[in-house]
């Protein structure tokens, strides 16, 4: 498929996708129909506006940020086609059982995704500003700058082992040891 995916899902593509991502054919088909539902103009790819039309995404504090990440990291030119869409979603398959883990949905991938939500300039570090942004998104507007800043600093100091005032991916993962990120960041895909 290219950036303009064909409207019908080809059989070999289907097999390919299933193999790579670990989805079953039914799941892929279901996701495909979902993709088509979202793709209102029927042009084979989703844009930001399509995704923003989903009400839940719209009101989610991190919705915009998520769409940024999706569009920039998984799609191109503000478009995401079905293949990219499904590779994105493959990350969130529940990889509890060893057999169902492909290269896509390892725990590391999920955490990486989360890390990318913070780290928009892709320098492999979360610095104070990025943290501050995300914090502000999650907390809302009625908070003093100082409060947020203090929290951000506190968070960084908790995580930062090498003292460079920014959080690398390893430090980030360490935080999440206690939380079962794999479970939390997995979705059940209905088939």
């Amino acid at each position: 498929m290219g950036s303009n995916a064909s409207i019908m899902l080809q059989q070999e593509d289907l097999q390919n996708i299933c193999q790579q991502t670990g989805f079953t054919t039914k799941q892929v088909q279901r996701l495909y129909s979902r993709f088509k539902t979202l793709d209102k103009r029927d042009c084979g790819f989703l844009t930001r506006e399509d995704l923003l039309c989903i009400p839940e995404v719209n009101i989610n504090p991190l919705g915009e940020r998520l769409i940024d990440v999706i569009m920039n990291d998984y799609g191109e030119n503000n478009k995401i086609n079905f293949k990219q869409f499904i590779f994105l979603l493959a990350k969130f398959r529940h990889g509890k059982v060893k057999a169902s883990t492909t290269e896509f949905n390892t725990r590391e991938c999920k955490l990486r995704f989360l890390f990318d939500m913070y780290d928009r300039n892709h320098d492999m570090k979360i610095d104070r500003n990025e943290l501050l942004e995300v914090l502000k998104m999650m907390v809302g507007g009625n908070i003093h700058e100082e409060q947020i800043a203090t929290i951000a600093d506190h968070t960084i100091s908790e995580l930062d082992k090498d003292g460079d005032k920014s959080i690398t991916f390893e430090e980030f993962c360490k935080t999440l040891e206690r939380i079962d990120a794999d479970d939390k960041m997995s979705m059940k895909f209905l088939s």
Partner: protein, 770 residues
Amino acid sequence: MPNRPFFDNLGTILLLAIVNTLFNTICIGLTLWGFSHTSLYGGTHFGMLPCFVFAALISAVDPVAVLATFTEIHVNDMLYIVVFGESLLNDAVSVVLYRMFDSFAKIGQENLIASDIILGCLSFFVVSLGGVLIGIIFGVVACFTTKFTEHTPVLEPLIILVYAYLAYLTSEMVSVSGILAITFCGMVMKQYVSFNISKKSDATTEYVLKMLSSIMETIIFMFMGLSTVSDHHSWNTGFVLITLLSCLLFRVIGIAIFANLANCWRLLELTRIDMLIMSYGGLRGAIAFALALILDETKIPRKKEFVTATIAVVFFTVFVQGITIGPLVKCLNVRRKQIEEPTMSAKLTNRMMDHVMTCLEEISGSGGSNSLRDKCRNLDRNYFKRWLLRETPQEKMDIKLLQTFKKINMQSAMKVHDTSKGLVPAPSSSAIHTSVSGSNLRPESTFANFSQLLAANLPEQTVPDLMFFESQGAEQYRDDAQMHHFLDTNLYRARPRAAIHLRSQDETAGSGEANNRFEKSYHHRNHIYIPSRMDKEQTHGRKSGKTGSSGMTRSGASKTALATQAHDNTHSPRHSASSVPKQQHTKGKSVSPIPHKKKQEEQSQEQLGKTRSKSPTLSTDQPLKPPLPANEVHQPSPPISIRIDDEETDVAMGGATAAERICPWRRSSVPDASRSTSASPVNDPSNSVQASSSNVTDPHIHPGPLTSAGFSGSYNKSSEYMGEYATTTKPEEHLQRPHIRDLFANQSRIPDEKQENDTDTVSDDSTTHL
């Protein structure tokens, strides 16, 4: 009982309650009867039907025992609700089976014909559905009754109790399941009655019922204990042992079979450990005992053995299983409700994951049982709420709030008066402010300054800060705790996800109630769903009470925007550049490298969470306008101008501490003493919901889907949610750059009081805890 997990897991619960109980009964009955042919019982003979009667009464899991045990061990909600739900709903089955076999025994085994058995099976449906129906009917009648009790709030707890008991009596009278009736009556009441009744009645009902239920449980078990030492026993070792073993064994087998069956369509699978806990948690209790006692000895000759065996089983399950299930849960590492989160970063990341995953679930369309729930919610909103709730709940709420706020202010004024010890004269704190500037803060190093900050409290007002006097040590821990608490109160809560979230309940135990609380408050306003935003604009200028609040909310949002703008003056060029195509920002975007195009709905949703307004601050906003970049001023100004007219509608509340009660994350101290916090009470919650969405007079706004306002209800602050009632941060505060310690200090104080008086009423979100 958490409603939402109950309905999410309803399929599993029903499967277990009905089929599992049936399976258990049959198996145990057959086993017992089978063994009576052997010599294990020492020669006493048990007929088949008596065995089945006994099996019917012994296989039912008891809700009382389960409730008592599982609440202690704090397992995750899903596990809890499955076991508890099963124990509630199996009443129908066990009652039917018991009665059926009992009447068969009376008829005599030889006289049974096929139609008896068929009728017995049919009676199951009658019993269960009849119970549910009666419960719902009484619940609805109770709701309807409370619709009219505005002027007689004293009656309300009585109404609730009476109707619930009536439901039970009526259903027992017609021989349907009383427990089911009362359960569903309670569920219905919870949804609607709590809106209708006054705050005091709600609190009263809650506490009275808790007390009564504790008393009753105690009495039941006491009675059981007493009758143990009576002399109506006949100990039959073989029988008791076989009973015990078969109960345990068949429970395990039954759970194994049916839980695996349920896993086929469950979103969140039950693991083996879950199954183990479920089978281990199948405690028998007082129902079995009571049923055993009322056996008719003439028809069932072995009654004494049955009673003895029942007591033995109940004792064993309650004592042995009940006591050891706690350590078992710990040692098996069953997912529990995590009460606190260890680190700030973990908490943040947790919340972030929630948000991300709800979003992704929505994108991928795998939202679980959401569509059905949405349909129910729509039905609910359109019909039930209209009929069952009182008229114009918002206005009522406002009046209530006014009164409550008056009371708060009185009390806080008294407190200020009384605690002269805590009053600290406030020198100019600007010098200390600069040392704690937010930009380069290493928390550890600045904590040393905090004691100084505390000493130099706030310029204009002395505030009793008792914490300062109480604990001089471990400042850092305290600050941590305060920060944690601050985060808790301010982070958005994600909409609970149907699938995974239920398992790892690592939000506080109050998350369910928090969501419910918000949904309650949201539902109040929702039935006056404002169709168009422009109408809102006009209606703002017209009506008095409502308008004031709605105008205030908008102006509140604008003020917040102003405040943040003012604060970020240095970054304003960036701001203006990035904000031109957008709506008002409620957050300083000073550090954002990428201009975020926030859409209106997201904005409105933020404002929903935090629309606060204070009319008196309005006057202070005016001088702020000049420093702002021009292109931002034009947005806030229309609301403000309208707003000014309505100032007189605000009731002067006074008392900074009232503000701090309302929004604990805000410092109280600010030159608020003279200002009224009246904005909050008059702040019309419904308008805040829709006003925020209608906050836009901005032509730039991308016309997103209208329903976002409907969805915005699902986002809320954590359990201290009080969006509509809180007040804005005033611009002066930003200018003063408040102390870090004080930023967090007051929050930790006030919410302690809140935690004590936890009720579920809507109007009490901010004003409850007095």
